[in-house]
């Protein structure tokens, strides 16, 4: 019970810290937010200008603006978007599902690819490992927008197998998912292979082989699980890459989603939307870290409460 409470308090702290950072950073962007409300080309009289400022609380001192912002955040009122004239909550809720679809698909695909490639290339022969290591390096160093464009060029324009942009069907999800998942899979593979090879050198692997267990089974049944532990520590980075990657992928493939909204909102200085996205991301990060802690215990019995190592 105390653990849950600590969790909630620390989650609130993380969201607060992220929101504060976002608030401060957004103050540094030059330009008058009033034009974000009315549009940059609109002619506004001094009087209207003042009225809009007052309406959005922009005439208040920065500290008061900040406190108001935190107070709204604490009561889950994100305010209205300057640009879309809709509540931020509605905007995010509308755009959430396409991004969740994309992120979930990538979250399934990346580990699958990583596990498959890791097991296939950690064998006795060296060349598959070298080849895969080279490919991983190339994939990791490729900017994802370029990767996306290349995939589009080959599979959509040249071969015509898959749609160029969002059609609502599963087919339109394939290329964006691959674009998002490939770099993640490449890094995960590097980490997992390292862990797998280390585990295969451990005495328990020798014991398993001495039982007459086939090499593949030693890998699947024993070593793979050990290699999952270092991979799990990458979950924070994984989440960040998913969110950041979504911004790029959604723009390259012209998909609706949070990423696209975020880019637009930052460009237009649509502060409430940006702040809403930041708060949402912080919540996602907190949720992921809770999930990872649970997964750790699933993988490693030494971390479970019932079977865990008692701290002395």
């Amino acid at each position: 019970m105390r653990g849950v409470l600590t969790r909630l308090v620390s989650a609130a702290l993380v969201v607060w810290a992220a929101a504060t950072c976002a608030f401060l950073v957004l103050q540094l962007i030059p330009g008058d937010p009033v034009y974000a409300v009315v549009g940059s080309d609109a002619l506004v009289s001094e009087e209207q200008h003042e009225r809009i400022r007052a309406e959005y609380g922009l005439d208040q001192p920065l500290v008061v603006q900040y406190l108001n912002y935190v107070a709204r955040l604490a009561t889950f009122r994100f305010g209205d978007s300057y640009q879309l004239q809709q509540p931020v909550a509605t905007v995010l809720a509308d755009q959430l599902w396409p991004t969740v679809q994309l992120a979930l698909a990538a979250t399934v695909l990346a580990p699958l690819l990583a596990v498959g490639v890791t097991v296939a290339t950690s064998g006795r022969r060296n060349w598959p490992r070298r080849l895969s290591a080279a490919v991983e390096l190339v994939v990791v160093s490729t900017p994802s927008f370029w990767l996306g464009i290349m995939l589009l060029t080959i599979f959509s324009f040249r071969l015509g197998w898959l749609p160029v942009s969002e059609t609502g069907g599963v087919a339109s999800l394939v290329l964006p998912t691959i674009t998002l998942a490939l770099p993640i899979a490449a890094v995960l593979t590097q980490v997992m292979r390292e862990g797998l090879l280390a585990a295969l050198d451990q005495p328990f692997a020798v014991t398993a082989r001495a039982r007459g267990v086939p090499e593949t089974a030693v890998r699947y049944r024993h070593a793979l699980r050990h290699s999952a532990l270092p991979a799990l520590t990458m979950a924070g980075w994984f989440t960040g890459t998913l969110l950041g990657g979504a911004v790029i992928v959604e723009n390259v493939f012209a998909r609706p989603g949070i990423g696209r909204i975020t880019l637009q909102a930052v460009g237009d200085r649509d502060l409430p939307v940006v702040q809403g996205v930041v708060a949402l991301s912080a919540v996602v990060f907190v949720a992921v870290s809770v999930l990872v802690d649970v997964l750790y215990a699933v993988v490693d019995p030494r971390l479970r409460r019932k079977t865990g190592v008692q701290a002395i």
Binding site: P203, V206, T207, A208, R211, G212, V213, R221, V309, I312
Partner: protein, 529 residues
């Protein structure tokens, strides 16, 4: 009929550059135990692993003859080897904590052995696991099968590992240092289990550097050095009447087989260390429950007990690393425990620690000169003098100056421990706390390090608190001994008295657990006293 027959076996590593085993020949029979004896790096493990086809991907194994379970194993492929492993030859490695998969319950590990050869249908596996655990003497087998390695005690772990090795009913068991990680009493019980398996007809290949263990089990002994079997014969003959010079050397190095240090003068003067009524608790568990002792300059006090008896906690209190919950420690007549760190720092150099595993107790990236130099710097030796002082210290511990630039990984186990001792001597301490200082070393190296410690005590008049689970070692270097159990000192006194006439049943059981050789060697040594 021999279950395994080997003639002229050679194992080479790294494209032939390392010749780990040269022309080895041996045979394993049902119900007999052959012991392979030798120090680390002698090739005994490589030889044993090659009988399982597990010498490793970089190894090249050639042999004049290699027959396993009646088949010629020289041209076995992976599939043929798999049929032999576990089914005809089982492997029990050192330290079950890492030799069993820490992420799987031990029941799953044993089941794996059963199912690998389809010796039982999947549905019957659970029952067989319980049967096997019962057979190796694990209590509450149903419950234990669901537990993980880290939840079991050292002895139970090793039993579980043995159960997984015998699950598919192999005729031969390779036991590679099966008791090295265990306490004396637990070791004795595991050896008894292996002996029982032998009586039931399993052939054993025992690999050990510990001659006392070998004597307890072996019918025949093969002594290995630098990859060559230098002497082989019946156990009694080889151990009592060794012919090869190296075998004699090994036997002479066994602690307990050597004369005891006789000082002549009992240590006198004011106690350097005065421990009174020390109690230390951890989260409801009492690790040390009221211990008193004193230690005078030049005196060596042995602290004996099994893991969990509170030895290490007591040592931490003495070192000033843990604050006692009750009681006090005086150092040189002044308060040592319970004073603020500021008041202690200037005196910290008086107590130094010699660790069990020097490899983990030094920074692996630092060269020897820096490891020792840091300790000198901490006591305010000016930079300009450090190099010269380091060389003097190295000389004192029997090392030469050409090791100054080596990193720990490039040193042998004995050299590393000498460096750790040199580091401990650097601040000119008056008291050394040695925590199992030789248990990670080979016997002959062990003997050298013990000699060194003894010489240093005499030359420098150091007081020593010597913690060990190895009674033979304690007997060899200590003046007095203190036996700890469950945080309490159950017996203490001069080493000769305690070893000759133990009073407390626990001390008796500890002494009984010491394998025979170390015990019988005690008598002539006493006559000399």
């Amino acid at each position: 009929m021999s279950l395994v027959e080997v003639a002229d076996l050679n194992v080479r590593f790294a494209a032939g550059r390392v010749h780990a085993v040269r022309d080895a020949s041996l045979r394993l029979e049902p119900g007999r135990c052959l012991a392979l004896v030798g120090e680390s790096g002698s090739g005994k493990s490589a030889l044993a692993r090659s009988l399982l086809g597990l010498a490793g991907p970089t190894a090249t194994v050639t042999a004049g003859e290699l027959r396993v379970a009646g088949q010629d194993a020289r041209d076995f492929g992976p599939r043929e080897w798999r049929r032999v492993r576990g089914r005809h030859i089982g492997l029990v490695s050192q330290d079950a904590l890492v030799a069993l998969d820490p992420l799987r319950p031990i029941g799953a590990e044993i089941t794996e052995s059963l199912l690998a050869h389809r010796t039982v249908p999947r549905s019957g596996a659970r029952e067989r696991v319980v049967g096997l655990l019962t057979r190796v003497g694990v209590p509450d087998p149903e419950e234990r099968a669901r537990q993980y390695v880290h939840q079991l005690s050292g002895g139970l772990r090793q039993r579980a590992l043995i159960a997984s090795a015998i699950a598919a009913g192999p005729g031969i068991l390779i036991a590679d240092e099966p008791t090295t990680a265990l306490d004396a009493a637990v070791q004795a019980r595991v050896l008894a289990l292996l002996d029982e398996l032998k009586q039931q007809g399993t052939g054993l290949l025992l690999i050990s550097h510990d001659l006392a263990v070998v004597e307890a089990l072996a019918d025949e002994v093969a002594v290995m050095r630098h990859g060559v079997i230098v002497e082989t014969g019946p156990a009694g003959r080889v151990l009592d009447d060794p012919r090869h010079a190296y075998t004699k050397e090994l036997l002479a190095a066994v602690p307990g087989g050597r004369p005891r240090a006789s000082r002549g003068r009992p240590p006198e003067g004011e106690p350097l260390l005065d421990v009174t009524g020390v109690v230390k608790r951890f989260a409801g568990r009492t690790a040390v429950a009221g211990v008193d002792f004193t230690l005078r300059p030049g005196e060596t006090l042995g602290l004996v007990g099994e893991s969990g008896s509170g030895k290490t906690t007591l040592a931490r209190v003495v070192l000033g690393m843990a604050r006692p919950d009750e009681g006090s420690v005086l150092l040189g007549g002044e308060p040592w425990s319970g004073v603020p760190e500021r008041a202690r720092r200037a005196r910290r150099h008086t107590i130094q620690l010699v660790p069990q595993d020097p490899l983990s107790a030094v920074d692996p990236r630092w060269p020897v000169s820096r490891i020792v130099g840091e300790a000198l710097a901490a006591t305010g030796v000016p930079r300009a003098e450090r190099a010269a002082r380091t060389e003097v210290l190295l000389e004192r511990v029997g090392l030469t100056a050409d090791l100054l630039d080596r990193r720990p990984a490039a040193l042998s186990g004995g050299q590393r421990q000498r460096v750790a001792i040199a580091r401990a001597l650097a601040p000119e301490p008056r008291l050394l706390v040695c925590d199992e200082p030789v248990s990670a070393l080979d016997v002959s190296v062990q003997a050298q390090v013990l000699d060194l410690l003894r010489r240093l005590q005499e030359e420098l008049g150091l007081a020593t608190l010597f913690i060990s689970h190895d009674l033979a070692v304690v007997r060899e270097v200590c003046d007095r001994v203190m036996v700890m159990k469950d945080g309490v000192v159950v017996e203490s006194g001069p080493v000769e008295d305690v070893f000759a006439g133990p009073v407390h049943p626990y001390t008796k059981s500890l002494l009984d657990a010491v394998p025979r050789r170390a015990r019988t060697a005690r008598e002539p040594a006493q006559e000399r006293l």
